[in-house]
């Protein structure tokens, strides 16, 4: 008997969220058991992976028991009721430490919940804890966390992507079936690509930003991370929708992403391949897998068309002006006066000295670099040449997308130019690091939605490769239609999800 429970529990962490939810609904297993199994897994593997910054076993189990009661009493019914989740540490969680991966927020417990957190709670999704990230989401490797890097479950010497490396690694290492990420320039999609998981950046305004600590307000968007397309869709449907507390939130119905994931049909669809996002700078194995995926899509009945997006070459430049500009202003509030740490307050220093000392001590190098860059780009005399010009390029990139979507239903590209690189490899070369986001950034600039899903391993290094699907704003359902069709075809080929190939930890 004891032995049988053990088998179920060790299995639990490898199940999809949909399977777990249905088992919980049917009473085969409780949320408490599922949650406990994942907490055990965290204890077992996270010392090596370091996906989590905060886990509170008793709190999570207590919440799971509440959800079990709620389900039994018929008070909670959602397609993910009872399933555990990991939250990127950028989400404000009431009474629970929220650091944004920064030392400046060490010990801060927000007095309120982000809208996403409220929605997840209402849906009976149980939080396991907060995940590691590049400080204030600035980075593509999670090496810029103030609390040490997260490691890629496929190879612990490599980066899990960033900024949401913790969320992706938690899902990839079976510590959680679901996670929330945020994506300002690729921080959901690139980690998904390099960890062999699925991640979606919804349409800008599709998911409330209220309670998500802002990096670049006009680019930030939270979204779902999971191991398969259907789980991603289920999570998407719970967190999306209008929120009056976020004035940029779109007030119209959420596209039916679950139905789209179920349909898994690309026949008659026109799929555009972006000419500018292949070739030079892209790893050979990445392109190889990408082309094989295109063949597969064509085999499923889609029409593959090459499209040109001429202004994408300026996307990175525009992004690295807009992001630091907005970030320099968003991060101004971290001054040691109302919350977070305070340094240098010896009773003789002025408020300016204390603010400066606090920010100097609390922020890491990448954050400071971007604050400096943003302060420069916004300062008088430079605004027009930098920020102003970047906003115009944003218009041109949006027009590129509009014109592309007048010919095709979705666009595709490799999610990232390379597979996971080694920890430390690009740390001293910010420009090389920034190039990682070359394919994901245009989407944030235009506010479209996009998904990354695994399409196999690069032959040269055996590491996961991701394919990016891009759809127009508020056509998020198309991502799931294409993603689930491609996933089904790949699972057919492989006999299971790619993530099952990951080495045991």
């Amino acid at each position: 008997m004891t032995e049988k429970i053990h088998t179920i529990e060790s299995d639990l962490v490898r199940q999809s969220a949909a399977t777990l939810a249905s088992a919980i609904r049917q009473g085969d297993v409780t949320s408490e058991q599922v949650t406990a199994a994942h907490l055990d897994r965290i204890e077992q593997v996270d010392p090596a992976v370091h996906a989590f910054l905060y886990v509170n076993r008793e709190q999570s189990l207590g919440r799971a028991r509440e959800v079990d009661r709620g389900i039994a009493e018929g008070k909670i019914s959602s397609p993910l009721a009872g399933v555990p989740i990991a939250l990127k540490d950028l989400l404000a969680t009431k009474g629970i430490p929220t650091t944004c991966g920064s030392r400046i927020l060490e010990g801060w417990r927000p007095p309120y919940n982000a809208t996403i957190v409220e929605r997840l709670e209402a849906a009976g999704v149980v939080s396991l804890g907060k995940t590691n990230m590049d400080e204030f989401a600035m980075g593509s490797s999670t090496e810029h966390s103030g609390y040490g890097p997260t490691r890629n479950p496929w190879d612990l010497e490599r980066i899990p992507g960033g900024s949401g490396g913790g969320s992706a690694a938690a899902v990839a290492s079976f510590q959680s079936p679901l996670a929330i990420g945020t994506d300002t320039g690729g921080s959901i999609r690139q980690p998904a690509a390099v960890t062999g998981t699925v991640g979606v950046k919804p349409t800008y305004g599709g998911v409330s930003r209220y309670g998500i600590v802002a990096l670049a307000s006009s680019l930030d968007q939270a979204g779902p991370c999971a191991r398969d397309v259907m789980d991603t869709a289920l999570l998407h449907s719970i967190i999306a929708g209008h929120d009056p507390r976020d004035s940029t939130s779109i007030n119209s119905p959420v596209p039916d992403v679950i139905q789209a994931a179920l349909s898994a049909d690309v026949r008659q669809m026109k799929i555009g391949v972006i000419k500018q996002l292949q070739g030079e700078g892209f790893q050979r194995g990445v392109l190889e897998r990408f082309n094989a995926a295109l063949d597969l899509l064509a085999g499923l009945g889609a029409e593959i068309i090459e499209v040109s997006c001429e202004h994408f070459q300026y996307a990175l430049g525009a992004y690295y002006l807009i992001l630091p500009s907005e970030a320099s202003s968003n991060l101004a509030r971290f001054d040691g006066m109302r919350f977070g740490i305070r340094r240098g307050d010896d009773g003789s220093n002025s408020v300016e000295q204390v603010m400066s000392a606090t920010r100097e001590a609390g922020f890491g190098a990448e954050v400071k670099r971007r604050i400096m860059l943003g302060t420069y780009a916004l300062s008088s005399g430079y605004y027009d040449a930098y920020y102003g010009q970047a906003q115009k390029i944003r218009t041109l990139i949006t027009r590129d997308f509009e014109s592309a979507f007048s010919h095709v239903d979705v666009l595709v590209s490799p999610t990232a130019p390379t597979t996971a690189f080694k920890i430390g490899e690009k740390l001293d070369d910010p420009l090389a690091m920034y190039l990682n986001d070359i394919a994901t950034i245009p989407v944030n600039l235009a506010g479209n939605c996009a998904m990354s899903l695994p399409i196999g391993l690069a032959p040269e290094d055996g590491l996961p490769v991701g394919l990016q699907i891009i759809a127009p704003a508020m056509a998020d359902d198309r991502l799931y239609r294409v993603g689930s069709a491609l996933e089904a075809a790949l699972v057919d080929q492989w006999g299971g999800l790619l993530i099952e190939e990951a080495p045991a930890l």
Partner: protein, 99 residues
Amino acid sequence: MSSIDREQVVHLGRLARLELSESEVTHYTEQLDQILGAIAAISEVAAEDIPPTSHPIPMTNVFRDDIPTPGLDRSVVAEGAPAWEDDRFLVPRILDEPA
């Protein structure tokens, strides 16, 4: 586009309330210059007649009704404060001259 010098970096540090060390000033001077150089290409794009996009989804007129909602308990506010006195946030002296 103009390249960035030490003096500017010091000024930016001050504007941004970052107490940069000498070596940081050197470091950021180099790196900002490099980054600005790399993205200088955006200024080559002729975009005179192109309207700027500051918000990706065109929307207008989103308002909230003027109806009070409960705020935070002061005890909770105080708990989060680095320094607190007499029901208020305590901050260091504001002027630069010594007290």
